[in-house]
Amino acid sequence: MTDADVLKQVNEIFIDVLDNESIVLKRETVAKDVEEWDSLTHIQLIVTVEKHFKIKFTAAEILKFRDVGHFCDEIIRKLGAS
């Protein structure tokens, strides 16, 4: 799975969970760039990503995510390790 594939799938998850068809994620996107991305929806996003990609993050890993690009990199790293 390429970086672009992961970003595309994560984008689809954001659109679905946040119920906003206009979301277009970039690697540099952060929470403050997306109106609906708050502490509660963040939980839904992480849970949905974990289920979709069949991976698990730790609480420590979640806290280190800098932006969407870093998040996608970690997804790819997890997929490679599984």
Binding site: L40, I43, Q44, I46, V47, E50, K51, F57, T58, I62
Partner: protein
Amino acid sequence: MNLGDEFSREFVITRKIYDGFRELFNDNNPLHVDLEFARARGFGGVVMHGNILNGFLSYFIGECLPDKNVIIHSQEIKYYNPAYLDDKLIFTAKVVGVFESVGAVEIKFCFEKESGVKVAKGMIQIGRKTV
């Protein structure tokens, strides 16, 4: 809570619950209050409000789990058969997902009558409230 943990409870839809629900939420649709109306549509009696089951679910989450620091993130419920006044419902629940990264847990649940007839089933996601 851990993956695979199971819980069970019994609930009875009593007259007090039925009357209280109608009084509080004003849903007096004839299906819920008019015996002839309900029978004419193939039901064995006035049908209990489906959302009474959500009250039982709220009690389970709020009072029956080992951790009281819990909030509901989301839930869905599907109804399969009607419940009637004084029905005893066997509620079973099983932890089917644990997301330690965000402190969330997914629980599948089911309401059945003593006869084994399935009334409803669904999924609820809960989490811990942090300051």
